[in-house]
Subunit: 402 residues, 2 copies
């Protein structure tokens, strides 16, 4: 039978040979690929699905199957985090050009598409990790500050950074600003809006921004502290960038954004914008479905570590183990590892675990993370007593003393 | 103990009493809430998590817990799609103002945040559906055309609409345009870019847009057909809108976009932009993790039906049952139902199932969907033989004859 598609003559010359590698875990056992032959068939389907989305037998031999279709580079039983017998760790390489714009710059959106576009819909496929060649990473700026830059901004070298959140939703901007003032006086390094504060009538974005930035600046003047206010710019697609720019104008010290709500690449734009020039903190709201299934989605390190870092976050918020959510100690450690692992010339980022801070937990966190993390303290700052400034001083000294 | 937070005096007056309702399913059994008391405790935690993110015992009685914190409206054992004994169907209402911008317009991003922000990170919580009062829906335009408008544009009243895709990645723009020409001559209603075609060197966006739009226009002139070309505008966050505008300028008949890659609200912007004014087709790439776990994420109808429609899609692509993916017949039917269910004054949208079209399957689909769906035919158009135009005519006549 004649085929409807031919290999275009110029295609081979358009593909440099640079490839990136993705490690997937395929579910095995009764619900997945039980034998190696089945796993290999699933792997080959994945390679087609993520690139040409075309039946393999209808592709003529030549440049398209050789260069464009993903290539199985390895297949082995098991894999990290395998939840049952017979899981498979699959390595697939893709041509860099599947994700590069003309001119050679990496398109992060298209990278996500090749990485996990259609295959996200198939249960039992999980992205464990990926490795991009330096040539592809050169197209991304990554975190603007990284761990070193963030420590330099806050003037804190020898302990974890401490971040608190303005809440609850329902308070007027002036009460949130008062809260911010007390936190900043108490020596907290960063104060973020709760991610639920957007632009409601209770505390509209612009008013909250002006009042909270001014309150933190006043506390810094009075105390000599160096606290940064991170307003939440998550909102309508045509207002995110303008809110981040307004934040920079108003003297905010950083930007909080929820990439799963506004798009990962919108976070990259904020991070790369020299007119904003502020550190970016990523919040995981609405994106938890990528990690709630042990067999689908992303590994914790790949999502909250590597991918969030590629998109320019200087710190990445996630729920710490033992709190209200279900991340394990090992999953949290894997996030921290991914925020510091070599990634071309990209800077590191801070893991920012949140939830349930106590003296005992502080020790435990130092054991796992070392000094290099950013701890979020929310309710804990309110639970200790009505003097927020004193509560802040207590937690700062707790971490300083360790 | 004195509390650090007080109920602001003006808060009650800021809350209208309008509330929206969300139906969640909570996992029961050994891994979830085994008893009704446990389920109620989990429900109350959810209500705090999704709004104030503040310990309930540290909130003073008054307007914040009464108006801002989500409210349990119902809790019953079971629920649709329950995968085991002891699951719970939970109804929670939230104040409209938690998601409204000052002035009263619904912020779709913040709606998603209240609906499923932090709770997305907790395994075993699934959004089954939601109901918004007309006052909240009035802030959204929804689909610009809807089923009726799309039928009128294509001039097709009495059969399912047929859409094919330009592929595979690797073909130059002129070959894709040639493919588009043949499809359009054959009577296909809509031709979309494969979602993997973005802006690669093989077929850069602008060149592809110009050549494919021109090819479809030529075929329409020659044949009297009324085919529409839907370029894929998914790409860097600062280029999505400009690509959609360029598409409108170039004579495209619609816009293809992947909301999980660029942000749901970016799709809304495209749909609402009068300068674009084209129907929008939503593609599910990268968002499958919201439906791969039966106990977490979203129900199929809520995600591909209601939410996608709220964000302005005139048609919503998903994998049909029995193809390469794992959606069931019932899940597909629930999507179709949600695209047509009453939703304030918002127009309906088309369910757009894709995958593995054959004569037998066409009959089966008509049984489930009636005439009102948009069928995607990809590989099937290439499998029948090398004459693409003839293949198109075959499938069109197949559906016309039923």
């Amino acid at each position: 039978m004649a085929l409807t598609v031919q290999n275009p003559p110029g295609l081979a010359a358009q593909v440099s040979g640079e490839r990136f590698l993705v490690r997937y875990r395929l579910r095995g056992g009764p619900e997945g690929a039980a034998t190696e032959a089945e796993a290999l068939a699933a792997a080959r389907e994945l390679c087609l699905e993520q690139t040409v989305e075309f039946p393999g037998d209808l592709l003529p031999p030549g440049a398209i199957p050789d260069s464009i279709v993903g290539r199985v580079e390895g297949l082995a039983a098991g894999g990290p985090g395998a939840t049952g017998p017979g899981h498979w760790l699959l390595s697939v390489s893709y041509a860099a050009e599947t994700c590069l714009a003309p001119g050679g710059r990496l398109d992060l959106v298209q990278f996500c598409n090749v990485l996990f576009g259609n295959i996200s819909i198939k249960p039992g496929v999980r992205v464990e990790g990926f490795d991009l060649p330096a040539s592809m990473l050169a197209g991304l700026k990554g975190p603007r500050f990284g761990r070193e830059g963030l420590r330099a901004r806050q003037g804190v070298q020898d302990r974890p950074l401490i971040c608190s959140a303005l809440k609850p939703m329902g308070l007027p901007a002036r009460d949130l600003a008062d809260q911010a003032y007390r936190f900043a006086l108490g020596g907290i390094d960063m104060i973020k809006d709760d991610h639920g504060l957007s632009n409601q009538v209770f505390a509209p974005f612009e008013e909250r921004l002006e009042l909270c930035a001014a309150a933190v600046a006043r506390a810094n003047r009075e105390s000599g502290n160096n606290c940064s206010y991170y307003p939440n710019v998550t909102g309508p697609a045509d207002q995110v960038l303008s809110r981040a720019r307004a934040a920079a104008q108003a003297g905010a010290g950083g930007i909080l954004v929820c990439p799963s709500l506004v798009g990962l690449d919108t976070m990259r734009l904020i991070a790369e914008d020299d007119g904003i020039g502020l550190p970016v903190m990523a919040h995981p709201a609405f994106g938890g479905s990528y990690v709630t299934s042990p067999d689908s989605g992303f590994s914790h390190g790949a999502l909250y570590g590597t991918l969030t870092r590629l998109a320019g976050a200087d710190s990445s918020v996630y729920p710490n183990w033992g709190g209200r959510f279900s991340f394990s100690r090992e999953e949290c450690a894997s996030i921290a590892a991914a925020t510091a692992a070599p990634l071309g010339g990209l800077k590191t980022s801070f893991p920012a675990p949140g939830g349930g801070m106590t003296t005992d937990r502080a020790k435990d966190m130092l054991e796992v993370y070392g000094r290099d993390f950013l701890v979020l303290i929310g309710g804990g700052l309110h639970r200790r007593g009505p003097d927020l400034t004193d509560n802040c001083r207590y937690f700062v000294s707790l971490l300083e003393g360790m």
